[in-house]
């Protein structure tokens, strides 16, 4: 309870403050004395300026609209001499005019678009049908015609010749390298076989001698 009372008391002490007018006067006096330019305005100053004015205007406009709408509807059926007739003349008529203008603009736009569509359709239907074969020819012709002619025929032939000779040279070069490589591999193979011959000859001789011995033994045993 005491804590609650204490908090309440402190809150009441905190509520002691100056009025906005007092603050503004003191602030202006301070700025004047110090020569500080009003570079930034305080929150309590900005709140009371444009924002509040805009809000008042918006609210009043809304209230006006809400207030006038039922009367405007009621005035629609009024005749000259009725109480609501001036409202019909002053409000309903201009609003109707404006709406009619908007509607007219829309209608005209729609009409124009519709007319355009019809014209397009008519144009398409009036076209003479082209046979499929003709269409192909025309297409290829147009394709050829549209291709840009970059070089003269002589130049193109020269280019082809030069590229052919180049490829020929390249081919010959490749063949030469292949031949040389084949030659090298043959040489190495021959060399290898030459190196192996003495050993094989010896073994052959050995085999032959053993065979002879075996044969001789067989003969002897027989």
């Amino acid at each position: 309870m005491t804590i609650f009372k204490f908090k309440k008391y402190i809150d009441k002490l905190s509520s002691v403050s100056l009025s906005k007018d007092e603050k503004m006067v003191l602030r202006a006096e301070f700025l004047n004395k110090t020569g500080i330019q009003d570079v930034g305005s305080a929150g309590w100053l900005t709140q009371s300026s444009g924002f509040r004015y805009a809000r008042i205007v918006a609210y009043s406009f809304l209230m006006f609209m809400i207030g006038i709408t039922p009367f405007a509807f009621a005035a629609e059926g009024s005749n000259p001499g009725d109480i609501l007739y001036p409202l019909k003349v002053a409000v309903n008529a201009p609003v109707k005019k404006a709406l009619a203008r908007i509607i007219d603009i829309d209608e005209e736009k729609n009409k124009y678009e519709h007319k355009n569509d019809l014209n397009k359709k008519e144009d398409e239907s009036s076209k003479i049908p082209v046979p499929a074969s003709m269409q192909k020819i025309t297409k290829t012709r147009t394709h050829k015609n549209t291709e840009p002619l970059a070089q003269t025929p002589e130049k193109i032939i020269d280019d082809i010749d030069s590229t052919l000779s180049d490829t020929q040279d390249k081919k010959e070069g490749i063949e030469r390298t292949i031949d040389s490589r084949l030659q090298k591999t043959n040489d190495t193979l021959i060399a290898d076989t030459d190196e192996q011959t003495p050993a094989s000859k010896e073994t052959e001789k050995k085999v032959e001698s053993t065979m002879d011995k075996v044969i001789k033994n067989i003969d002897l045993s027989l």
């Binding site: 005491t2 403050s17 003191l26 602030r27 700025l31 500080i36 570079v39």
Partner: protein, 168 residues
């Protein structure tokens, strides 16, 4: 002076004018005088800034200047209690001039008046202005430990007074 410093100082002025005013008001109990003292405190701080005085904590500095101004005012004028002032026709809150003021402000000040002067300042600085004991020590020119103890005592006393009173 640099435009940035000017802007910062005006921001400080806007945000701290009312708390400093309150600090002065609860001690002088005079609205107009408190306004004047607060304005003077800010002007003196601005002059100190212009003289390139080394200010570590500008908020505490403003409060310290205000505190010194109040002491000077006390020295010049004999201190009068609220009762004497009211008997003499002084109204601390003229509600016709300040319609937003609460009618119970007089009672609030009466309660605060039951505390010694130093404790009043401590209550206002600690609980109303939400200052830290370190800052309060800086403002009052005392050490932090003694300030912390004094705040505790003052709060306890105020709670006892409020317990006795039924007006709040």
């Amino acid at each position: 002076m640099n435009a940035k410093i000017q802007k910062k100082f005006i921001e400080l002025y806007d945000s701290h004018f009312t708390p400093v005013f309150r600090f002065c008001y609860f001690r002088t109990k005079d609205r107009e005088l408190s306004k004047d003292l607060t304005q003077q405190a800010f002007l003196k701080t601005w002059v100190s800034l212009q003289n390139n005085q080394d200010i570590e904590n500008i908020r505490a500095f403003v409060y310290r200047v205000a505190h010194n101004l109040v002491i000077d005012w006390y020295k010049k004028k004999k201190e009068a209690s609220l009762e004497i002032l009211t008997d003499a026709g002084f109204d601390p809150i003229d509600e016709s001039q300040h319609p937003e003021s609460d009618a119970s402000y007089g009672e609030l000040i009466k309660i605060l008046d039951e505390l010694p002067k130093k404790e009043r300042s401590l209550i206002v600085l600690r609980h109303v202005d939400k200052m830290k004991p370190r800052e309060i020590a800086e403002v009052l020119g005392r050490d932090v430990n003694s300030v912390t103890v004094a705040i505790h005592r003052a709060t306890k006393k105020l709670k006892e007074i409020l317990k006795r009173k039924n007006t709040i």
